[in-house]
């Protein structure tokens, strides 16, 4: 039954976003927002900051369904990632941050475990002269210096993330906020001597094994999972959705998998997005989909918070809403309309 599904469009913002950007979501029927915020390079937000953020979004009819941010790219927190002397002190600060968010009414915190942050190399021209970000492993490897002068140990990083999960998950449970980690993007073995820890299906299974709590979950960047070499994107969606480990989805498309790939318009990458959406639906996923890393279109005005301007992001939003409506409704008819020949395209 269609009414059993709850697949929802969402949109991502920077914390200092504009009135125009907020009104845009409200006008286009989007009610869920993801906000890039949280503990970062400098002083961390306090409880009141999180409350003020939520109230500002609510005044536009938008519910913050998640705060998304990476503390891990900032050296300030690297004792947590690599096991330095101030690890426990830093973890305590992060536990406080999670408490603040939860008590301010934020239900999800998505973060990452990428000391190098996310990375791309030379962008490429895609359809009609639009520009997509791209990654070329050879290019990046040659130019990126070692982050800490020597390669970091992958085993040690695994120990540290396990230590972290075991320290933070009980706090999340107690406060009622679900936590999820974004995969390594690009999902390659090593960048600048830092192992890309969460670069595969197996890595995420291992991460989930550290705590079987409902509060230990995944910020499911479908784009990055699609970039993982040799993995089947539909299988990973199904596996984690069935286990209720997907907090929300970055619904974007790419040309192929690492070591080299570029980002695409939402319906021109290698992933069949309607098949992906059906996989979420059939696995019982109930949650939100954000547009992400949209191509740069000509003469487009910057939409603060993510790649791609208003036109590009609204195209993706329209597509996301259309796919949600299509796969939600087709069950009433027993599936899509069967057609004898391929449609329009040349492949």
């Amino acid at each position: 039954m269609a009414s059993d599904f709850n697949l929802r469009p969402a949109i991502a913002y920077g914390a200092n976003t504009t009135d125009e950007a907020l009104r845009t979501a409200a006008q286009y029927g989007i009610e869920d927002a993801v906000v890039y915020y949280g503990p970062g390079a400098g002083q961390s937000p306090d409880f009141q900051d999180y409350v003020a953020l939520r109230l500002r979004f609510e005044s536009y009819g938008l519910k913050i369904i998640a705060i998304e941010g990476g503390f891990s790219p900032h050296r300030k927190w690297h004792d947590v990632v690599f096991g330095g002397p101030r690890r426990d002190e830093m973890i305590e600060q992060l536990q406080d941050q999670v408490r603040f968010m939860a008590r301010a009414g934020i239900p999800i915190y998505g973060y990452n475990w990428m000391p190098n942050s996310w990375g791309r190399a030379n962008p490429v021209t895609i359809r009609g002269g639009a520009m997509g970000t791209a990654y070329q492993w050879d290019f990046d490897k040659e130019r990126r210096p070692l982050m800490y002068g020597e390669p970091m140990s992958e085993d040690n990083m695994w120990d540290c993330i396990e230590y972290w999960i075991k320290a933070i998950t009980p706090v999340a449970e107690e406060e009622g906020i679900r936590l999820g980690i974004h995969p390594e993007d690009p999902p390659v073995e090593d960048r600048g001597g830092v192992p890309g820890l969460l670069r595969s299906f197996d890595a995420f299974k291992k991460l989930m094994s550290f705590s079987d709590s409902h509060y230990n979950a995944i910020e499911f960047c479908q784009g990055t999972f699609s970039e993982m070499p040799g993995e089947d994107i539909y299988e990973m969606i199904e596996y984690f959705a069935k286990r209720d480990k997907i907090l929300y989805v970055h619904f974007r498309n790419v040309s192929g998998q690492a070591p080299s790939f570029n980002e695409e318009f939402i319906n021109t990458g290698y992933v069949d997005m309607k098949k992906a959406m059906r996989t979420y639906r059939d696995a019982g996923y109930k949650g939100s989909f954000i547009d992400d890393h949209c191509p740069i279109m000509e003469d487009d005005a910057d939409f603060p918070g993510n790649l791609g301007g208003y036109r590009s992001r609204l195209f993706a939003q329209g597509y996301i809403q259309g796919v949600i409506d299509g796969v939600t409704r087709e069950g009433d008819y027993g599936g899509p309309v069967s057609t004898s020949a391929s449609n329009g395209g040349t492949a």
Binding site: E20, R23, T24, A26, Q27, Y28, G29, Y60, G61, R127, G128, G129, A130, F265, I266, N267, T268, G269, Y270, D272, M273, K274, M277, P295, M297, E298, D299, A301, Y310, R311, S312, L314, F315, A316, Q317, G318, Y319, I320, Q321, G322, V323, D325, G326, V327, R329, E330, Y333, G335, P336, V337, S338, T339, S340, A341, S342, N343, G344, G345, T346, A347
Partner: protein, 331 residues
């Protein structure tokens, strides 16, 4: 069967606007009343070829011309004093469109023109156009007598004259409804404001060249289109698609029917767009869908780049999910 994605504009002169279409993957471009010079009452071949070449510069395809300037065809529609002259010039214009290799010419069979009576806030400050017959104040525009019978005579003469020409020159003709679909507008009797009018139109000459521009928005606005007994919008779509009469579709949504309605976002009107899309697919529609009359949203251009991108993305997704195929040959 092939269902494709289109988009319309009124001119091909703005390079940025053309690249906007190319970037969105538009497969069929429609130019509505493009500024082709009118020379001795008609469009000349060389000017139409220039227009087509201009579109092709951007790796786009000019599939349809939608309307010529209204003063090339006002008397043709109303039976005014220049009826014969305009008929002859439109025949020549259609021949030239065919010679230029443009496969469709569509036209609004209405006079005076499309109109609305205002705008409404359709949510959070987004604005949709609105029509309310109670507040309509449109003075009579004709200074000669026109009856329903004389109006049909004009349309029948047009269809009987143009269809064989269109067949010969490889052009399909499609007529757009009167919008708003009222029986009389500004004192002018209207023919294509309901299902009966369209059934009569396609029976004048039984030819693929005698077709319909199915402005789904205007059909949705027709009295009764929101009721099962209507005939409903879904029944009308099925009827004409089955008979292969639909050239392409203006895929937009509205709040209701005449005498009072407003335009909405594509997925917030009364028409179930998924159900509609299935009817096209199930009945073997071979044509394209374009966004149309998008709402005005905050910060958008007059052309509505943002709202068009959104509606077009929604349509692309509905086509792909409904038919389980990829528009762009990606999978």
């Amino acid at each position: 069967m092939s269902m494709r994605i289109g988009m319309g504009r009124n001119s091909a002169s703005d390079a940025q606007a053309m690249r906007f279409m190319a970037q969105l993957g538009i497969q069929d471009v429609v130019l509505n009343t493009p500024p082709v010079p009118v020379k001795n009452g008609k469009w000349e071949l060389v000017d139409i070829i220039a227009l087509k070449n201009r579109v092709e510069e951007f790796d786009l395809k000019l599939t349809a011309i939608e309307n010529t300037q209204i003063d090339m065809r006002n008397d043709l529609i109303t039976g005014g004093p220049k009826f014969d002259e305009q008929l002859e010039n439109m025949v020549e214009t259609i021949k030239n469109i065919g010679r230029a290799g443009i496969p469709m010419y569509t036209m609004s069979w209405r006079y005076p023109r499309y109109y609305r009576t205002g705008h409404v806030d359709i949510g959070n400050g987004a604005m949709g156009t609105a029509y309310d017959s109670e507040v309509e104040h449109w003075p009579d525009v004709l200074d000669f007598e026109m009856t329903l019978e004389s109006a049909w005579e004009c349309l029948e003469t047009w269809v009987r004259t143009i269809t064989s020409v269109a067949e010969e020159y490889g052009v399909r003709i499609g007529l757009h409804p009167v919008d708003p679909p009222m029986p009389v507008v500004a004192g002018v009797p209207q023919l294509l404001h309901n299902f009966e009018g369209y059934k009569r139109l396609i029976e004048i000459v039984d030819s693929p060249a005698n077709g319909i521009l199915l402005c789904q928005g205007s059909f949705s606005q027709m009295a009764g289109a929101d009721k099962d007994s209507g005939p409903s919008i879904y029944e009308m779509i099925e009827y004409f698609v089955k008979r292969k009469k639909v050239l392409y579709v203006h895929f937009r949504n509205v709040s209701g029917t005449v005498p009072k309605f407003h335009e909405t976002f594509i997925n917030t009107g009364y028409v179930d767009m998924y159900k509609a899309m299935r009817i096209y697919a199930e009945n073997g529609f071979d044509g394209f869908f374009m966004d149309d009359h998008v709402p005005h949203t905050v910060g958008d251009t007059d052309y509505g780049h943002r709202a068009k991108a959104y509606a077009n993305g929604y349509i692309q997704a509905l086509i792909e999910t409904t038919t389980n195929t990829s528009l762009h040959g990606a999978h």
